[in-house]
Symmetry: C2
């Protein structure tokens, strides 16, 4: 089986490593616009060969689009055009509505499975990839009814091989939920990082006085701007609504603190504590 | 040596366990308003004996105030009154200005060292305490010039025994810095938890779709309301300023996302990325 991975970064690279660990006979053709990343991916054993997109796709049984979501939106139609009749295509993008809309009327729509693995770290590039990134993580598949049963089955089997859990939903639901449980956290971290860096000109102070609480809250501020900017754009309505609610909650806290209303403050924090029930 | 620990929770308990691991001949007298916590502390080997504050303090060589900051502010004068002539007193509160102002003109001010260990977890109570919590953490000592040299030396030695790093600053600087690098992170997490819980009525969705990013950003939302409410009150000017700046940054992001200005978004995120230099 030949898998063509387009975008040899954290997700694409980890998927390739995971699949290769499971099936020795799989050949990975890598495609990456960045020459250095492509070279690195060969060195790290992520890809067996690096080719141009136009050469790689026609040879593949499965194509994985693992580029930033803006690039996925641009590449998906040309890739579908080049896709062999029996091959399957998946993407790993963090937004699903625009991508699904883009392929909607393509004659090969059935060969595509819209996917989003709930996995990642704050690092990017092939060096960040590791074999177990996807293990025990959730793969969300959107609009499964629009994929051919055979194609869907192949992709589901791939996920099970990687020891992933499957969940299905509409692209609309996906983008709404993800705005709250993922995209918003990233913005809250980016904004926290900037607020603290702006105030604390002496970085030694941050280093010495920030405990593990700050490190964990600000961790996502290390994330890749070129990956995240297009996610926020593609999901801007949901993200803007989530961000609006978040700002409202923070204003609530500010009013409570300014008025020294500890009882109301405790009530709010007790509500926030309920997250324990879910995250343990 | 007899150490009296008032407040047998995460910090007081961990300090007791750390000291006992280092010096077998130390006796810990525990004081806790909560009977069940006091009992638990005996079971867990945190305290050797539990007494009323009025009984314990007069027997101690060192008294550690490890209650919520509102309680520290109430207890510190009565405790100083009861403190034996050669004994030392420290507090472990996350705010320092009000506490330092409260003791300022007490005749035994020199026997007090205002301290804040930059250590903690999102859990509380004696069960949350563990022997290595303070190890390799920073102890901030405020207004050291107001402590007797002998008292200061005793407290510094205790910190070194616990393998802590020492930093010195004014109470004013402490409260300002902590508002940014600690208190703000807690509010950002509490507010994030509420925003997501309000939207996602089906908690299964949060569980399945939230990756490790959300978990890490929202971790502090599990923190104790009764510990944090008085911290925000005592440090309300700095916290309110920090929160105001944070809300401004989030508004910035919202405007950028609403207007699909990816270039400006990337610029902001690149600035946030600089947190890598400090936190690695």
């Amino acid at each position: 089986m030949v898998i063509c991975v387009i975008g040899l970064g954290l997700l694409g690279g980890s998927l390739a490593l995971g699949v290769k660990a499971k099936h020795q006979d799989i050949k990975i053709l890598g495609v990456d616009a960045n020459e250095a990343n492509a070279q690195k991916a060969i060195e790290l054993g992520i890809a067996d060969q690096v080719l141009a997109l136009e050469e790689a796709v026609p040879q593949a049984d499965l194509v994985v689009l693992a580029t930033p979501v803006s690039v996925i939106a641009q590449q998906i139609l040309p890739v579908l055009d080049l896709l062999p009749a029996d091959a399957a295509l998946i993407d790993l993008g963090s937004t699903k509505e625009l991508i699904c809309r883009t392929v909607e009327i393509h004659p090969k729509r059935g060969q595509f499975v819209a996917s989003h693995p709930i996995a990642g770290t704050e690092y990017s590039g092939p060096e960040a990839a590791f074999v177990s990134l996807l293990q025990n993580k959730t793969m969300i598949i959107c609009e499964k009814e629009k994929s051919n049963p055979k194609t869907l089955q192949l992709v589901e089997q791939l996920c099970l091989d990687l020891e992933m859990n499957l969940r299905y939903m509409s692209a609309t639901d996906h983008d709404l939920h993800l705005a709250y449980v993922s995209h918003l956290s990233h913005i809250s971290s980016f904004a926290l990082g900037i607020t603290v860096l702006d105030k604390e000109k002496d970085e030694e102070n941050i280093f010495d006085m920030a405990g593990s609480g700050f490190s964990s809250t600000v961790r996502l501020a290390k994330s890749s701007p070129s990956m995240w900017a297009p996610i926020f754009t593609q999901n801007r309505q949901n993200v803007s609504e989530a961000l609006g609610s978040y700002i409202e909650q923070l204003q609530n806290f500010k009013t409570i603190i300014d008025s020294e209303d500890e009882e109301k403050g405790k009530e709010l924090m007790l509500r926030a504590n309920e997250i324990r029930r879910i995250l343990g």
